[in-house]
């Protein structure tokens, strides 16, 4: 599949927005869906639908095989050791909640500390926050430097003898900083601390190898990876999934249920209670195929060139101030304009068909630190082109014209 013509795979680009071609620069929020993913959902519901893992009839067996096939595809895609290390969740948020809840329940006590960073999305802070009240744990935040990066030194400085878990983002959804997760993981393990990586922004853009990174947990949002909404993946080392208690109780996750007590099922069923997002899981298999057909290395190269180009274009524009200046930067360009609030920017850009996000991007801690109440954010996906970034720049100039008149 040729990356240069990739827009054609996405039916959304056939539509006009306010009579303009759509310039979609909000992929960090959610990516658009290729035709093959959309078709797969339709085909499954029209020709193959059944619940999985329960009945023995033809459709149920076929659907179960398709569902489990995505698990194996995902295992290979992120090079996990075992397919049972892939747990489907309703999203990355649930994946992190699952770990915070079960790990907190079993392993955390009053006075224990969890180390996050100032870059974290609310979904990698709020689930841990519950443990403050529930268990009396303390939450620490490793500080960013002036470029909006988290360095290994910043993590090292924040680790104390009481640190029992490190939970950090792979790629900041605001500054675009890519964290040295392999080095941080090895540092954490040298001190016997497990580590969770919030991979929402990492997984759609970067090559993943769980055995190489060696992290304990990695949370993935499928709708940011050209897949359906309502689906996430938790990668967890088997030793943790064996050791931790189940997260939710219900059908499908049990072995034996008696009035006196219950025993739980084996992996991966232990963590997949109730009817799962079957169609989404099966369609997500197509997203993995789509990514494999282009090649994640090609995607990384394409997006890295685009990010550099976007930075160049915006730096030349005197009214734009980029947020953060990380050396290792992923597909995110957050910015502010003097005297124009991010929401006004987003509304004006929208009129030209340019879709960006404005606000705090679920990172209030970071925005407080930066002294900004809101920022505008253009974020890239596989379908973006230099032309999109030129259009972004033109629309930014239009904001100035409207506000400076």
């Amino acid at each position: 599949m040729n990356i240069n013509n990739i827009k054609k795979q996405f039916p959304i680009f056939n539509n006009k927005v306010h009579n303009n071609d759509l310039v979609y620069l909000d992929s960090a929020n959610s990516s658009q869906k290729p035709q093959m993913v959309v078709d797969r959902i339709y085909d499954f519901y029209t020709k193959e639908f059944s619940n999985v893992g329960r009945s023995v009839h033809y459709l149920a067996v076929a659907a179960t095989n398709l569902y489990e096939n995505t698990r194996t595809m995902m295992q290979k895609y992120i090079n996990a050791k075992d397919p049972n290390e892939i747990v489907f969740t309703k999203g990355a948020t649930e994946a992190i909640n699952l770990v915070a809840n079960t790990f907190g329940q079993k392993f955390l006590n009053e006075g224990d500390e969890i180390l996050l960073t100032e870059l974290e999305h609310h979904s990698n802070y709020v689930p841990w926050h519950y443990l403050r009240k529930l268990k009396g744990v303390k939450i620490n935040f490793a500080e960013i430097n002036n470029d909006g990066e988290i360095t290994i030194e910043s993590i090292e400085k924040s680790i104390t003898p009481k640190t029992k878990m490190i939970a950090i983002t792979h790629l900041s959804n605001v500054t675009g900083a890519i964290l040295p997760i392999k080095e941080i993981t090895s540092l954490a393990h040298s001190k016997n601390i497990p580590i969770l990586i919030d991979g929402c922004q990492g997984a759609p853009h970067l090559k993943l190898d769980m055995q190489d990174i060696d992290c304990d947990f990695y949370a993935i949002s499928c709708h940011k990876m050209y897949g359906p909404t309502g689906l996430g993946v938790l990668y967890a080392k088997k030793k943790w999934l064996d050791a931790l208690p189940p997260y939710q109780g219900g059908g499908g996750m049990i072995r034996e249920v008696k009035k006196e007590g219950i025993s739980f099922g084996d992996l991966p069923n232990k963590y997949e209670a109730g009817t799962m997002a079957t169609a989404q899981v099966i369609a997500f298999g197509e997203s993995i195929k789509f990514l494999n057909q282009i090649g994640i290395e090609n995607i990384e190269k394409h997006e890295s060139e685009l990010t550099k180009y976007g930075e160049e274009v915006l730096r030349k524009n005197n009214s734009v101030k980029l947020v953060g200046n990380p050396k290792n930067k992923g597909s995110v360009l957050s910015f502010t304009l003097d005297g124009i609030h991010a929401h006004d920017i987003a509304t004006i850009l929208d009129e030209d068909g340019v879709a960006i996000r404005a606000g705090h991007h679920c990172c209030q801690i970071l925005h407080d630190k930066l002294g900004l109440s809101a920022t505008a954010r253009a974020s890239l996906g596989v379908y973006n082109t230099k032309d999109d970034l030129d259009k972004l720049n033109e629309s930014i100039n239009k904001c100035r014209k409207i506000f400076d008149r």
Partner: protein, 156 residues
Amino acid sequence: MDLKELYQEIILDHGKNPRNLRKTENFNKDAKGHNPLCGDKVHVFLKIDENKNISDISFEGSGCAISMASASIMTDLMKEKKEKEVKELVEDFLQMIKESPEMKTKIISENEKTKLMSLSGVKQYPMRVKCATLAWHTLTSAMNNSQEETNTEKFD
């Protein structure tokens, strides 16, 4: 409807140079408002005299041009109004922003109504209606002595 209607000169003027952006000395009522989706914040201060007149009104806060302009125009308008009149104006304004094509109140001049109507451009931008109404909901909270922070997610 186009952007020029949303960002009329009067909105940009009030948005860039908000009037009454300060803290009333010896205020006797106040309330904070917050739009959690976009981070807009406003804190309204009132000084109500013994005759239930608003002798001073001001606000502090930060946000987009629409929310700042709305707070600015609102505070300008409410000065010297009676408590009862304030309530009527808030209701009438919120009606106008949500559905009514015009303002019905007889308390204010046509000129003042036109000023308020300049905010009606947000009707075409449903996500931005909350920007225009934040200060008004917060003013209501202040009048009601509500201790709870006004949150735009509580209103439609």
